[in-house]
């Protein structure tokens, strides 16, 4: 029997969480080292899976299947294809860097890492699940620790409000999606939750058109689709740094991915019926999100709303329903995940030292932390879609896909590029350049080597994908071909 690498990836975090529970809470360094070991292991395994996926063969690989509740057709069934392999890698990367960034957490680090790792297991689980029930199971596992992580370790001013808001939004969304999933289960008459079987269930057109919005929007709430996006900036801002990184970097992808996997792939005719108006919602995401980001005075809110804008591009790419747009959306999920993790890491580093996030009160951080400045500039260039960085590799095909399906939308959405550039330049100018305010002189400590490792790691990935897209493009493309077969487009 083959080495069950996907199960190892999924359960490494939670096992490590249990181990950490056994360590006395006072021995913080042991806790941190254990966490780092688990993060490294998950990262190495996910890199290994990513590079040993055989693109020429395609389809689902590393598949594992065990019966779980056979009488209801539920099984533990995991596997990866070209779409979710990058997302597994993304989760591994964010988990690893998240642990590094959270090194300085001093308030109950044991519990913090335990919840963070439960979250990580949930996320890995959703990405690799091939069983609809399993997907929900892991989805809820991922959402629940978020509440505690934000409300306990979050920003004191808004943490309870934000945690409550976030959790309610996401639970309502997932309940709606669950209703749709159950409808599929019963309508298919196959008596199974296996998604590959459900893909071939042949739901009637009327059924698909009716149930698609339930499933799609239920998940897309977590993807931050307008008008259900406003949990997300509040949640981002209130969360502690590593949680924001997870939250924006990975969790929002979870929503988009599940909307794709369950909504579009299982109900393709419903998708082609509803997408023409859904794409308008994503247009609002893209342009309005960028605009709102540009008028924020709080550093972290800017990044929070920029995520709304960029996730809009992901769903917009799906909504083109053609291979080019989907390809771009697939890469954008990865690229945005890394970029926004980098952004939140930087925001966290700045806030930890300045104790304010008001852009006007910051300045001159270039002098004390040049590496952070370079990292933020690279992240900024990625988010502007500057050629040579991964954002361009992702956004360019999304726009090409739009030209094929909705040319006017492409023209309007392009406005967001200018708005994004303007707020990124503003932040770079205000926070990192210019004069350092007097109260900070001598009070800003430099960053430690763990932070440096995390920032350099994330930055290098953004540049690597940007200058050498063959590391990711053929893989995502093979996944997209599979989706195209299901929705019957070209």
């Amino acid at each position: 029997m083959e080495f069950p690498v996907l199960s190892f990836i999924v359960f490494t975090p939670i096992v490590a969480g249990l181990l950490i529970l056994l360590i006395p809470g006072g021995r913080k360094n042991e806790i941190r080292v254990t966490a780092l070991a688990a993060g490294s292991l998950a990262l190495i395994l996910s890199i290994w899976v990513y590079f040993s996926y055989d693109i020429d063969i395609g389809g689902y690989q590393f598949v594992e299947k065990y019966s779980w509740l056979p009488q209801f057709g539920i099984s533990y069934n995991v596997g990866i294809d070209g779409i979710n392999a990058p997302l597994v890698l993304l989760t591994g990367i964010v988990m690893f860097t998240g642990v590094l960034i959270s090194w300085g957490i001093d308030d109950r680090p044991r519990e913090f890492f335990v919840f963070l790792f439960i979250l990580a297991t949930g996320v890995f689980g959703v990405f690799v699940a091939l069983d609809l029930f399993m997907l929900f199971f892991f989805y809820e596992i991922a959402v629940f620790p978020m509440y505690l992580l934000i409300s306990i370790w979050g920003w004191k001013v808004t943490r309870e409000y934000a945690a409550m808001k976030l959790t309610l939004y996401l639970f309502i969304g997932s309940v709606i999606a669950l209703v749709g999933a159950l409808a599929m289960y019963f309508a298919s008459g196959l008596g199974t939750f296996n998604m590959i079987a459900l893909e071939r269930a042949g739901f009637s057109t009327a059924f698909q058109r009716f149930w698609f919005p339930f499933v799609f929007f239920g998940f897309a709430v977590l993807g931050g689709i307008f008008p259900f996006h406003n949990w997300s900036p509040d949640g981002h801002v209130a969360a502690p740094t590593a949680v924001s990184m997870f939250h924006a970097g990975v969790l929002m992808k979870l929503g988009a991915f599940a909307a794709l996997r369950v909504g579009i792939m299982l109900l393709p005719e419903g998708a082609s019926f509803h997408m023409p108006w859904i794409i308008l919602l994503t247009l609002v995401n893209v342009v309005y999100g960028a605009f709102i980001a540009s008028v924020q005075s709080d550093f972290k809110y800017v990044i929070g709303f920029s995520s709304v804008s960029h996730m809009g591009l992901v769903i917009m790419g799906f909504a083109t329903l053609n291979s080019t747009g989907m390809l771009g959306a697939g890469i954008q999920m990865f690229s945005h995940g890394i970029m926004t993790a980098l952004f939140f890491a930087v925001v966290g580093i700045v806030y930890d030292r300045a104790h304010t996030r008001e852009i006007n009160q910051l300045g001159g951080f270039r002098k004390v932390m040049p590496l952070v400045t370079v990292a933020f500039i690279v992240g900024g260039l990625v988010s502007m879609g500057m050629p040579g960085f991964s954002g361009f590799i992702a956004e360019f095909p999304i726009f090409m896909g739009l030209w094929k399906s909705h040319p006017w939308i492409a023209v309007i959405a392009a406005v967001s590029i200018v708005i994004t550039a303007s707020y990124i330049i503003r932040i770079i100018g205000q926070v990192f350049f210019g004069k350092i305010p007097e109260q900070f002189i001598g009070h800003i400590s430099t960053i430690n080597s763990l932070d440096k490792v995390a920032l350099v790691f994330l930055t290098v990935i953004l540049v690597l994908v940007g200058i050498y897209p063959p590391v990711m493009v053929p893989m995502v493309n093979s996944g997209v071909e599979n989706i195209m077969r299901l929705i019957g487009g070209a």
Partner: protein, 515 residues
């Protein structure tokens, strides 16, 4: 040798990146080390491009030294580079000016390491535009060059000066200038981005050679508009992006600010090479992709060209700031490039068109030399006097005779004195454009008259007249390092002025087989 033959272009393109990495590794403390490493490494692309020039066969049409590798297969974009006579000339210009600009930057003392790295990234971006035979790569490099230039102006630009922006808030002039540079170019590129995507979708490829063959025959409709309308829109999207960069009136207003605030070396590269990207875009993309639209709108381009020539000259005459004067002279001179291109677009295939295009390409090269030289000389005097106002100078010739002589020489090359380079190219443009756009060319000649006026004004106010005594004991003569920068430029100016055949030979075949 094999490697050199087969990958010569990639070597030229990536040497600056290698140089940037070397500078990245070197310790930050030693400015001396960074300066000399940068200078020595920047010579390498120059040597390679001279080898390229020697190996290039000017009697063959089409692209030479092509290399192609898969890069982004699902959308059919590949790493594809190659040179023809036009790009060869501009590559040589880039690789000549970069070492000189780095040598100029030896006076920079603030964050030398970062500065040199940015300069190499800038060179990489510029070379990439000239080398790309893939539309997507062209666009990538086009945008890429923007970033280092923004930071060079924003961080190393002139320390003095404030600008009032809306709301009465005051910002540093260099912040204002760099932002304006970024916004103008980005806004121009936005249309370019959309147009590139549209072409990629309809033609199914980004390869410039293949698009040239296919695009004019494309017949699919988008937006439910007739294909002619779409092509006209796409044509203008390209044209405006390039006109902003050239810059042509009325898109030129970013240029005087950016030039004035940029450090000397930044201005040299900005005027010397970056402006040429716009002209090159017209030659490489607009004319071959849109032969019919170019012909239809050639008159409009000619009007903009003439407006640039006249407005640039008059505005230059009106300046008291020496650097601003030189900046407006760029608008004036680059107008001739557009005029040549417009004439050629209208009458492509005729002898007049060929002459006009030869003139336009040569004018780009010549303006690169003379504008870089002029900005350098302004920088030299600014470093000594800390003022750029012409009215603060006066009668400096006796104090600094060598500098004065060089300034007059370079000014004369810029003015178009027969025997120096500017004359050859402007003559060719005017000769080619006269039968095509007689009235416009005649108007441009009037602009040429004002060119003489502003250049003489600059010389008169700086060098002649009563001596401004405050400089009596404070003004040092041009030094050896500075001579090393300006003398090669002067030799080239004279060389092209008296014997332009060596360079026209290379340009000639390329412009005849452009499309």
């Amino acid at each position: 040798m094999e490697l050199l033959q087969n990958h010569l272009l990639s070597l030229i393109l990536f040497t600056p990146i290698f140089a940037a990495l070397v500078n990245l590794i070197l310790p930050k403390e030693s400015n001396f080390l960074h300066r000399w490493t940068a200078f020595v490494l920047s010579i390498v692309p120059l040597v390679l491009s001279i080898i390229l020039w020697i190996l290039y066969n000017p009697s063959v049409s089409g692209f030479q030294f092509q290399e192609q590798y898969i890069w982004y297969s699902p959308i059919n974009a590949s790493y594809h580079v190659g040179v023809d006579g036009i790009s060869l000339v501009l590559i040589l210009l880039t690789t000549i000016l970069t070492p000189l600009a780095i040598l100029t930057s030896f006076t920079i003392t603030d964050r030398v390491k970062t500065y040199m790295i940015l300069f190499f990234l800038l060179e990489f971006g510029m070379l990439g535009v000239f080398l790309s035979l893939d539309l997507l790569f062209f666009f990538i490099f086009w945008e890429f060059g923007l970033v280092p230039m923004y930071f060079i102006i924003n961080q190393w630009g002139s320390e003095k000066g404030e600008r009032e922006i809306w709301g009465g808030r005051k910002v540093k002039a260099r912040t204002y200038a760099s932002f304006k540079f970024m916004v103008f170019t980005m806004a121009g590129s936005l249309g370019l981005l959309l147009a590139v995507q549209l072409i990629g979708v309809t033609a199914g490829t980004f390869d410039i050679i293949m698009i040239t063959e296919r695009w004019s025959a494309v017949d699919s409709s988008i937006f439910n508009l007739p294909i002619q309308t779409i092509k006209a829109i796409v044509f203008w999207a390209f044209a405006i992006a390039f006109l902003v960069k050239v810059p042509a009136w009325p898109f030129h207003t970013w240029l005087p600010d950016a030039h004035t605030e940029a450090p000397t070396a930044g201005s040299m590269i900005l005027a010397g090479v970056l402006l040429k990207l716009g002209g090159y875009g017209f030659l490489r993309l607009v004319l071959p992709f849109f032969p019919e639209e170019s012909k239809v709108f050639a008159g409009a381009l000619a009007i903009l060209a003439v407006a640039s020539i006249i407005h640039g000259a008059l505005a230059a005459y009106g300046q008291d700031d020496f650097k601003r004067l030189v900046a407006y002279s760029s608008v004036n001179h680059m107008g001739f490039v557009i005029l040549g291109i417009a004439a050629a677009a209208f009458a492509y295939g005729t002898l007049d068109a060929t002459i006009a295009l030869e003139g336009a390409v040569l004018q780009m090269f010549n303006h690169g030399l003379s504008a870089a030289g002029m900005f350098f000389l302004v920088g030299v005097i600014y470093e000594r006097t800390h003022t750029r106002l012409l009215s603060d100078y006066g009668g400096l010739f006796p104090l600094i005779p060598v500098y004065g002589g060089i300034l007059i020489f370079t000014s004369m090359a810029s003015l178009g004195l027969p025997g120096l380079n500017g004359f050859v190219s402007e003559f060719l443009v005017v000769r080619g454009a006269w039968p095509v756009f007689t009235v416009f060319t005649a108007l441009a000649m009037i602009g040429l008259f004002f060119t003489g006026a502003y250049i003489l004004k600059g010389i008169k106010m700086a060098l002649q007249g009563p001596l401004n005594t405050r400089w009596l004991d404070h003004l040092g003569e041009i030094n050896r390092r500075e001579l090393l920068i300006i003398v090669p430029l002067m030799i080239l100016m004279l060389w092209i002025g008296v014997w332009p055949a060596w360079i026209l030979k290379v340009i000639n075949q390329a412009v005849m087989s452009l499309y």
